[in-house]
């Protein structure tokens, strides 16, 4: 653990309206396995993009072995010896495993691509990860876990002296994760510096020696030794307070008929035998790891994917939802997407349109006439009630902060007076204050009679909020229980259901 191999000094980066990074520093020593932690929106991905040459910092610098470097493109950081496993899948699906792994530096013979040599060198890296697949396999044929391992092999193949892994284990089994960790420890022993980004704290505690935590774009701690730190210590650094958050009071009413009920439902997306009930006045929490099929289940309920078996009941009546329009307009179901910018909001349009989008057809008069005034009459009270901070309803949604954007996402369903509301990752990328407000809002909505299903990967949030919790794994609902709002007991039960 000698001098620093990679160093970030006082990096700041602002995107229009948002300070993503504010004077952040980090220093990874030679042969060190260093954890980078932070909640969603804390600035991790921005920092990673600065290290990999995707973004340039507004202030501060990146140093490699003490020399300041200014990467202008990913290829420059690769050339400087930085190997990266990105969180998003980054393979060419039409190419073979060998072609992908040798993409940065393909072996050639007489100027032509030398497939045989590529296969040989690829096999070496696959063997290292105990991955038994033919290097000539086309990537689109691989399973999710295999793809992730191939990406890791690709990063290893660069034989970089600095390896950056962004959520590398999200789709791996514990066994595969174990193999990966052995490899990483061996590399570290050989002097490779590793920056490990993960939200699985248990993994971090078992693998890493040092930690940097980001919170709201700033250092909550910088390159500290993990020795002597507990899970609770890290969590406190990440969220800035004790883990226990406000607990919603238990619901008092439960009607006999569930607003929404699934009876051993199967879908074209691969769900099997999913049964759940959501009642008016109640929050149903849905937990699961990435890829467990939660958002996909929401899509099936919304009519965006086909239900192939079982029964969906609304207010007790078996129902076939033809498409999303049907779900929204006829059955009053609303869905707040986890991908706010991609499929939740129309960023280029203004606040009023984004709220009224669900009800234009309803408020219009003769010949479908809708004026700005008519639209504002619906949108203004909601924007006020939800405390959307904006000078005017004509403000483009793209210019709002994450918290205000999320309020608009919810407001459009209030406009549509949805009876059943599915909220996917309600507080991802949202600052702490708006977070508390949104939790309170969700609670109010349910107590006012809506059936709310909250999908979240944030266990403390779910335990604090939900009246009942369902746990999904591999496109099945493996457990449903009444939430006691006792974090220890409920989280243990969830982990038990997942890792069983």
């Amino acid at each position: 653990m000698s001098d620093a191999f990679v160093e970030v000094r006082g990096a700041s980066k602002a995107f229009v309206g948002v300070q993503a990074l504010d004077n952040v520093s980090l220093s990874v020593g030679r042969g060190q396995i260093h954890a980078l932690l932070g909640e969603n929106g804390a600035g991790k991905s921005t920092l990673i993009k600065i290290l990999t040459g995707v973004h340039r910092p507004d202030a501060g610098e990146v140093l490699l072995e003490g020399t300041p470097r200014h990467f202008r493109a990913p290829r420059e950081s690769i050339a400087a010896g930085i190997g990266v496993v990105h969180q998003e899948r980054n393979l060419i699906t039409r190419f073979s495993v060998a072609e992908n792994i040798t993409l940065e530096d393909p072996p050639t013979k007489f100027g032509l691509f030398d497939e045989a040599a590529a296969v040989v060198s690829t096999r070496k890296w696959l063997d290292l990860l105990h991955l038994d697949i033919d290097p000539r396999t086309i990537v689109s044929r691989l399973s999710v876990a295999q793809v992730q391992l191939v990406e890791i092999a690709k990063a290893l193949s660069l034989e970089s002296r600095f390896l950056l892994l962004d959520e590398p284990t999200s789709s791996l089994t514990p066994h595969e994760t174990g193999t990966l960790f052995e490899v990483l420890r061996r590399l570290a022993a050989d002097g490779v510096s590793i920056l490990f980004v993960s939200h699985k704290l248990e993994e971090v505690l078992s693998l890493c020696t040092h930690v940097t935590v980001l919170r709201d774009g700033r250092n909550a701690c910088e390159s500290q030794s993990l020795a002597g730190m507990t899970r609770a210590d890290i969590v406190r650094l990440m969220i800035g307070r004790e883990e226990a958050m406000f607990a919603a009071p238990a619901t008092s009413v439960r009607l006999a008929t569930p607003a929404l009920e699934l009876v051993s439902v199967a879908t074209s997306l691969g769900h099997r035998d999913v049964s759940l009930q959501a009642f008016h006045g109640e929050i149903f929490g849905l937990y699961g790891l990435i890829g467990a099929g939660r958002s996909e289940l929401a899509r099936a309920i919304m009519g965006a994917a086909k239900i192939t078996g079982g029964e969906l009941r609304i207010e007790g009546t078996p129902t076939r939802i033809r498409d999303v329009t049907d779900a929204v307009r006829r059955y009053g179901i609303g869905y707040v997407s986890e991908d706010r910018k991609g499929e939740g909001l129309i960023l280029a349009h203004d606040i009023a349109s984004n709220i009224a989008v669900t009800i234009w057809h309803r408020i219009s008069r003769f010949l479908g006439f809708v004026s700005d005034g008519m639209q504002d009459r619906v949108a203004a009270p909601l924007a006020r009630a939800l405390d959307v901070r904006t000078p005017s309803l004509a403000q483009r949604v793209g210019n709002l902060s994450g918290g205000n954007q999320q309020k608009v996402s919810v407001a459009k369903w209030l406009a549509a007076s949805s009876k059943i509301l599915i909220i996917d990752e309600p507080t991802v990328g949202i600052d702490v204050r708006s977070k508390a407000y949104l939790h309170d809002l969700i609670l109010r909505l349910s107590r006012d009679g809506a059936a709310v299903i909250v999908i979240s990967s944030d266990m403390p949030e779910l335990v604090a909020l939900a009246d009942r919790i369902g746990v999904m794994k591999d496109f099945r609902l493996v457990e449903t229980f009444d939430n006691s709002r006792n974090y220890g007991a409920s989280s243990a039960r969830i982990m038990q259901a997942i890792h069983g």
Partner: protein, 329 residues
């Protein structure tokens, strides 16, 4: 306080800039080119503004979806030929024949839309294929024969000169523009089309029937294309299959030039009716002026290409600004 105020805000600077550019060019050509502001030339300028304006507005209705319609010219010619057939062969009344023409254009546009929506292919390749299919079928059915015995009331309308120098085709274009402006600004249908075009995923999850809206956009384009086809026939005094060039491809440049100059976003969801109209005026003024300056007819095409190139570089600047405002990653 809505989409339109915002759209207006975006296009305001753009439309204003175009307006100023138009004034400058008109003044310059008036001084440099003899006869530029003569009654004859003003008449011919207003006539091409009328026709090209409707062509540009037709394309704009599809650009809303983030797609395009290469078959616009083919649809325009097909519909005009349909009108000619109804008038001359079937001897139907004028208003009824024209109605049939618009319905034919709408139907052909709807076919494009249906194929785009059901196959989820990009409208480029779909309309590339239908351009060929529509035009080929029309030529086969008609045997390449045009219709040149149009009723006098029609050809008279085409030749009419209001105040001695304004073509009535210009007024037709203003009516089409006004109707479109009303639709996009004051109806649920128009707002829904804009929302679906700007972000189909979000629109769909908000319960909008995105597929149906996209088909409507293509159908609307076809219907307006039919009107443009009839207007072009009135200018020629006859309906001939070759009036929009091979496969109707000669319309493509005016079709894209006007909306793009006027600030319609190629990515979908952002339009400016006023901008498209001004864009057309700008092009007509430049073309006519260069022509009066004895720049060969062919070099005008080159000049228009350069104008489009300049415009898209400007649009690029605008898009970069919009992107910077809307994304934060």
């Amino acid at each position: 306080m809505t989409v339109q105020t915002r759209l207006r805000a975006i296009s305001r600077s753009n439309s204003f800039g175009l307006f100023v550019a138009i004034l400058v060019f008109v003044a310059a050509f008036h001084l440099l080119a003899n006869g530029f502001t003569s009654k004859v030339n003003v008449y011919s300028i207003t006539r091409s503004i009328g026709i090209d304006g409707v062509i540009g507005l037709a394309m704009m209705t599809v650009l809303v979806t983030g797609g395009l319609n290469l078959a616009l010219g083919a649809i325009g010619v097909c519909s005009a030929m349909g009108v000619g057939w109804a008038l001359q062969t079937l001897g139907l009344p004028i208003w009824f024949s024209m109605l049939l023409g618009v319905l034919l254009g709408t139907a052909l546009g709807a076919i494009n839309g249906l194929i785009v929506v059901t196959t989820r292919l990009h409208s480029f390749v779909v309309t590339l294929a239908t351009m060929s299919i529509f035009f080929g079928t029309m030529v086969l059915l008609s045997g390449s024969n045009g219709f040149n015995e149009l009723p006098h009331s029609l050809t008279g309308f085409g030749r009419m000169r209001l105040f001695g120098m304004v073509s009535p085709l210009l007024l037709v274009m203003f009516v089409v523009a006004a109707v479109l402006f009303f639709i996009y600004r004051y109806t649920a249908f128009g707002r829904e089309m804009l929302a679906a075009g700007a972000n189909p995923f979000a629109a769909k999850l908000s319960g909008l029937p995105v597929e149906r809206l996209f088909v409507s956009c293509h159908a609307l384009c076809g219907g307006i294309g039919a009107i443009a086809g009839m207007m072009a026939s009135l200018r020629n005094g006859a309906i001939v299959p070759s009036m929009a060039g091979p496969l109707g491809a000669d319309w493509l440049l005016p079709a894209f030039l006007a909306p793009v100059l006027g600030g319609t976003l190629l990515a979908g969801g952002g339009i400016s009716v006023l901008g498209a109209v001004l864009g057309t005026v700008f092009i007509a003024v430049i073309s006519s002026g260069l022509y009066m300056l004895q720049l060969g007819e062919f070099w005008i095409q080159t000049a228009l290409g350069l104008v489009l190139l300049g415009a898209i570089l400007l649009e690029r600047g605008r898009a970069a600004l919009a992107l910077a405002r809307s994304t934060r990653r």
